[in-house]
């Protein structure tokens, strides 16, 4: 029944818009009421600390949209940082080390992708395995050492700001990657194929999409981005250790889910993911500024996550119940009329 009443404003309010609005409200509120939030140094801290999550969230969004997940990203980042530190200690030039580390990340992603696509294993189980394996290799490579004496200009790229502005230098790189990810996911056949695969893999295959190759490439890109994050992490915090970025996977997954990327695949936007990432990042920053303890911040993260999945579903259930009542109300006179 194409009822005009159904063209309700609520049908157009999507979850990623809600998260974006929340983020803007939080930023406006914090600029007005929270001391020290708006100064350039604090904003650069906020962005710098959120960048690792923001970097990995880009490929993770594509992966989740296609119906898969990668929990090994934190370990891949840690492994890249550890290898970078070990090679630097070994006297290799950093210009050689960084491409090698990126290549390593690509290989880590390929291993995940091959296990998932060639053997047909569930990505959750595979990447929990490689989560342990990659972190273990990082530990073998670097042991308990930490490497801190990277060249000044690279450390400056990891932690420095552009002039006196609040923008970290590395953020420029992220913005470029964000634009690429946004275009690929939302404006190219590759992006449409990812959505189609996530919605129904079987249907996508019949529609001529090379599902396995697509997934393999997405896993490889995720590994590549994870190692880029690992390199950034080591430079930003000026320390390469085997346990860098431990637990990062959960933060990324939390942010992506908060941004409305459906875990069943086939739904979500890059914008939503970015809003989710920065909502969590900004919230943590604000809570630290107003002296909310780190422990309470964890609780807030958890509650937000639960609400982010519960909220849309409850709203949908209410909407369906209403629609049903309305159809019942209009159907009732129709059935009694002939009698």
């Amino acid at each position: 029944m194409a009822d005009l009443k159904h063209l309700d404003v609520r049908n157009y309010v999507r979850w990623d818009t809600v998260v974006g609005a929340l983020l803007i409200a939080l930023l406006v509120g914090s600029f007005s009421f929270v001391d020290n939030f708006g100064n350039a140094l604090n904003l650069s801290f906020l962005i710098g600390n959120t960048l690792p999550i923001a970097l990995i969230a880009l490929p993770m969004t594509m992966l989740v949209v296609s119906g898969e997940i990668d929990l090994s990203v934190g370990s891949t980042a840690g492994l890249s940082g550890a290898v970078m530190g070990a090679l630097w200690n070994g006297g290799m030039a950093i210009e050689t080390i960084i491409p090698l580390c990126l290549l390593l990340g690509l290989v880590c992603g390929l291993v995940n992708g091959l296990l998932v696509t060639k053997l047909g294993l569930p990505s959750l189980a595979v990447t929990i395995g490689t989560l342990a394996a990659y972190r273990g290799i990082a530990q073998i490579v670097l042991g308990a050492n930490s490497v801190t004496d990277f060249p000044e200009q690279y450390l400056d790229f990891g932690a420095g700001r552009i002039g006196d502005t609040f923008i970290p230098k590395a953020a420029v790189l992220w913005v470029i990657l964000l634009v690429i990810a946004g275009v690929v996911l939302h404006a190219t056949p590759v992006g449409r194929s990812l959505f189609a695969t996530g919605a129904s893999e079987e249907a996508a295959r019949f529609a001529g999409i090379r599902v396995k190759r697509l997934k393999l490439v997405t896993f490889a890109v995720t590994g590549l981005m994870a190692s880029l994050t690992g390199i950034f992490w080591a430079l930003h915090y000026a320390s390469a250790r085997y346990d860098n970025a431990t637990g990062l996977e959960l933060s990324v997954v939390a942010a992506v889910l908060l941004g409305g990327i459906d875990f069943d695949g086939g739904k979500g936007t890059i914008g939503g993911a970015v809003a989710g990432v920065f909502l969590l990042g900004a919230l943590q920053n604000v809570m630290s500024l107003v002296n909310v303890s780190a422990q309470s911040q964890i609780v807030v993260t958890g509650v937000l996550l639960v609400i982010s999945v519960l909220g849309p579903r409850v709203a949908r259930q209410i909407a369906t119940a209403r629609a049903r009542r309305r159809t019942a109300a209009t159907a009732a006179p129709a059935t009694t009329a002939p009698a």
């Binding site: 189980a125 394996a133 273990g136 996530g198 893999e201 609780v299 958890g302 519960l310």
Partner: protein, 349 residues
């Protein structure tokens, strides 16, 4: 999340294929047992002090806590769900039991408190998953954070040490009948109970049915929500019990206790042959998987391998386990299909 694992198609001659499937599944548990025994025997040969009285006791004690949590997790995974909050539940219930015992309370009450806390959080997870119908992975990732946060706020920088606890409780955590610790006996009893329930009770079988096909189970009259809720409550209760035993074993609890444990638990479940797709595996296999994982951690140092290798080997073992499972499942499916074809042609001919 959609997984690409196709269900093993049963041949029309149900009984024969059922037997074959049965045998393969039993072989799965046998295989872990063989690996475990061979590994322990080889270690004993290269280091004769390995299976001493103390050595056996340590092996069993190390396995106890993981076995309990993994058995609970298995019950949830069999229903095609997952509980990532078990590490947080273990931590908070261990601290609760420790706080109660701090003034010298009754150990039995302390265990009941720990189990009770586990039940409450298990019910919370179960309600969110079954009534809210939200993906288990997301909900329990959320409660992982929430429970850990509550734990950290409550505990702060305090910690419980063995000196705060009644001597009897600590003794219970270390003593046993010969080389077999009391804690291991307790875990074995729980394991036997859950195993019997899962294979012999109607509601236990319904958990498998639910995991194989939630829709079919619902149509067959299984009370889906109630069963899922029960599975989560059981999982929480076992994590709580494990928390109390953790306190008895280590005597030392702070706000970080059990953090990151969920990945070890899930590894044990998967190595033990319970698939994420639900409806398969057994809690006995999972217990063996847990023993295998904890034993490796003792085996490697005692044959002179540096402890930095442990994590990498754990991960590779997990990958091997799921890869082998998959290959075997494909083989079985092939055999069944061939038999079905033969039966059909024989029938027509």
């Amino acid at each position: 999340m959609t997984t690409t694992v196709e269900p093993v198609k049963l041949a029309p001659d149900g009984q024969r294929s059922g037997q074959l499937l049965d045998r393969v599944l039993k072989m799965r548990e046998l295989a872990i047992l063989v690996v475990l025994v061979v590994m322990l025997a080889a270690t004993q040969i290269s280091n004769s002090a390995f299976l001493s009285h103390q050595g056996i006791e340590d092996l069993l004690l190390n396995a106890t806590i993981l076995v309990l949590v993994a058995v609970g997790e298995a019950v949830v995974v069999i229903t095609r769900n997952v509980d990532l909050s078990v590490g947080s539940v273990l931590g908070i219930s261990a601290f609760a039991a420790g706080t109660y015992l701090h003034g010298g309370g009754n150990p039995l009450v302390a265990v009941l408190i720990a189990v009770g806390i586990g039940v409450v959080f298990g019910a919370l997870n179960g309600l969110l998953v079954s009534i809210g119908q939200v993906p288990a992975l997301v909900v329990t990732l959320g409660t992982l954070y929430i429970i850990r946060g509550i734990d950290s706020i409550w505990v702060g920088s305090r910690e419980i040490t063995a000196n705060d606890l009644p001597g009897g409780f600590i003794t219970f955590g270390h003593d046993g009948l010969g080389p077999i610790p009391y804690l291991a006996i307790l875990a074995a009893l729980v394991l036997a109970g859950v195993g019997y329930y899962m294979s012999n009770y109607r509601s236990g079988r319904e958990l498998y049915a639910l995991g194989s096909s939630p829709e079919a189970a619902r149509l067959a009259g299984v009370q889906v929500r109630r069963r899922i809720l029960a599975a989560y409550v059981a999982c929480g209760a076992l994590a709580g019990l494990a928390g109390a035993l953790y306190l008895a074993r280590f005597g030392n609890v702070d706000s970080g206790t059990g953090s990151g444990y969920e990945l070890t638990v899930v590894s044990a479940v998967v190595v033990g042959g319970v698939a994420f797709t639900g409806g398969s595996g057994s809690v006995y296999g999972v217990a063996l998987g847990a023993m295998l994982l904890t034993s490796i951690n003792s085996v490697l140092p005692s044959i002179g391998v540096s402890s930095v290798w442990v994590l990498a080997i754990d991960g590779i073992l997990l990958l091997l386990a799921i890869a082998v499972d998959r290959v075997v499942a494909l083989r079985v499916a092939n055999v069944l299909r061939k038999r079905a074809a033969e039966a059909r042609s024989a029938h027509h001919g």
